[in-house]
């Protein structure tokens, strides 16, 4: 009880600060809801000192965008920067402290026998210490990769968690070609850049699922006339078709060792969860009921499966032990008559799902006990949530008019967001790839 009060108190303080500085009252109100929920998330003030060189400027701009998107950084306005130190020794700490800047990023381009290097230093203004010094060898078109590595390093040092800036996302693009539709699976950097098509089909594709090690993607394709599961190797493009039952197949999810896939299949109209061992070519039934069981997500410890079922009447989320025919327990109550597509966060402390709020389908991030549930989207048709590998960000699709776009934002529901879209196509079914070294 005390904890709750304390959190509310923190939120109130934050509101007062916002009202005095924010130009928009409604914006402050949006932030208020967030702050009351969490109370503990405070944006760190980071100064990014401009470098007068195009390559370095590009890198620093991408770093600023990356960190801003996490919602955990308040990037100090570059126009207000009066001094341009390039290394620790040149920093006038007092001039930064006046503005409340806690850390700064400085850098310079240097050359030696290996070629040109971007040398950067992250500096703690309050403690007057150098947090790290990193060197990046400049190569053609390497701005984004360097910026993502540097963003990860800053995130790790200042937030204490692994960043997700060098991860990838996969999604489906639906385009109209003449009078038919075209479906493509695209893999890109997390922020939408460096996109590449790995499959194109004239038939619907959905439910992309990365293998845990990032080497394969499983998905549902209608190319054979009905929905079947395909597992595609990203290294060589080889595909394995999995066919089971006499009805639908769907919702693939890799096991922790990537050797099995949990999926949905229908036999004589009974829609249940099954497991398929890719090595032994063996199918195992997991649930048995007259109702729909689908959209399975495996907990990161491998012990629990969370899934969607209409066994209780409405469409709700259930969980069960990862063993055949263990008894499902209902997870969601109350909030809505439609709660579906649950996905575990990578650390297993949270899950996300889609709920129907007064006719709008929106994305929720919740702790497992559902003490802290947060609507993090506000569209009419938002779906397919997928957590970043570090659990701090989430991607989902949002229908805007007649086409869908992808939205990437913090799981804390903070304002900052990236929208990825194509003018005349829909981007759907996003799936965030794992952290891969």
């Amino acid at each position: 009880m005390f904890l709750v009060l304390k959190k509310n108190y923190l939120g109130l303080v934050f509101l007062l600060v916002l009202v005095s500085f924010s130009p928009s009252k409604s914006r402050a109100m949006e932030s208020l809801t967030i702050k009351i929920d969490e109370g503990t998330i405070r944006a760190l003030s980071l100064g990014i000192v401009p470098i007068k060189e195009t390559f370095a400027t590009n890198v620093f701009d991408i770093v600023a965008d990356n960190l801003r998107l996490s919602g955990r950084f308040d990037i100090f306005n570059q126009a207000d920067i009066t001094s341009n130190p390039t290394k620790f020794e040149d920093v006038n700490f007092k001039s930064w402290r006046i503005f409340g800047v806690e850390n700064i990023l400085v850098g310079d381009i240097k050359s030696d026998n290996d070629g040109y290097k971007l040398v950067v230093e992250l500096i703690d203004i309050l403690r007057q210490t150098r947090i790290f010094r990193e060197e990046y060898l400049l190569r053609e078109n390497s701005e984004r990769a360097i910026a993502h590595s540097l963003s990860n390093a800053i995130y790790k040092q200042l937030i204490g968690k692994v960043g997700c800036y060098n991860t990838k996302i996969a999604y489906v693009v639906v385009s109209k070609v003449d009078s038919s539709r075209s479906y493509s699976i695209i893999i890109s950097d997390y922020d939408g850049y460096n996109s590449q098509e790995i499959l194109n089909s004239r038939h619907p594709i959905l439910s992309l699922a990365w293998s845990r090690r990032g080497k394969k993607i499983a998905y549902v394709s209608f190319e054979s006339g009905r929905s079947l599961i395909y597992v595609q190797d990203l290294k060589n493009g080889e595909r394995k078709k999995i066919a089971y039952g006499d009805g639908i197949m769907g919702a693939p999810e890799f096991s922790l060792d990537d050797n099995s896939i949990i999926f949905t299949a229908s036999i004589s109209g009974n829609i249940d969860l099954y497991k398929y061992n890719l090595i032994e070519n063996k199918f195992t039934r997991l649930t048995k009921s007259e109702a729909i069981e689908t959209e399975a997500s495996l907990s990161p410890d491998g012990n629990t499966i969370i899934f969607t079922s209409n066994r209780s009447g409405g469409t709700q989320i259930f969980k069960m032990d990862n063993k055949p025919f263990s008894t499902p327990q209902r997870v969601t109550y109350g909030l809505s008559g439609f709660n579906a597509n649950p996905v575990y966060s990578p650390s297993g402390d949270k899950f996300s799902f889609v709920t129907n709020v007064k006719g709008s389908y929106q994305v929720v991030v919740s702790d497992l006990e559902q003490q802290q549930q947060r609507l993090i989207s506000n569209g009419k048709f938002d779906e397919s949530p997928s957590f970043a590998s570090n659990g701090d960000m989430i991607v989902f699709s949002s229908k805007n008019g007649t086409r869908s776009e992808l939205i990437i934002k913090s799981t804390e529901g903070l304002d900052a967001e990236t929208r990825i879209f194509l003018p005349n196509s829909s981007l759907i079914e996003p799936s965030w790839g794992p952290a891969v070294e």
């Binding site: 893999i187 996109s195 689908t294 967001e417």
Partner: protein, 166 residues
Amino acid sequence: MRFFLWIIFFITGCSNSNISGTGANVQDKSTIYKAKVSQYSSENGYRANGFATGSEISSLESVIYFEYDSAIVSSEYDELLLGVSTYLINNPQVKIVLEGHTDERGTREYNLALGEERANSVLKQLNILGVSRQQMSSLSFGEENPSALGIENDILALNRRVEIIF
């Protein structure tokens, strides 16, 4: 916190090999290959916007519509199903496909399952009316193949359907 919105336009359909263009990222060192799909038919895929008009659908009389998130066949289709079952019983060589569809509300995989449930509801009804299981098969497209495009209630209602395909 300042509000921040970052919009990206990007071009898809880059060449297959350009993903290795960013050298410092470990993940980017491996080239990702594109797979090829062999399509099951020579048709031009599904027609976008090629939906039947309301009058066409009513003249076919082989479409059964459903309530939201429901697979229960309304009694208003008793006559239609009786007609279909009589025809199938009298013509045992005829086979039908019951194609289940949903509107776009709700998640895609749930809708794929709901479309299957709808198709099987109709299948069971016809079976009770005496139609052999061998004459019927079910297929679900979930929300992937709407008969009408739009988010108005009457359009969504047109998409919650089972089409009896002879």
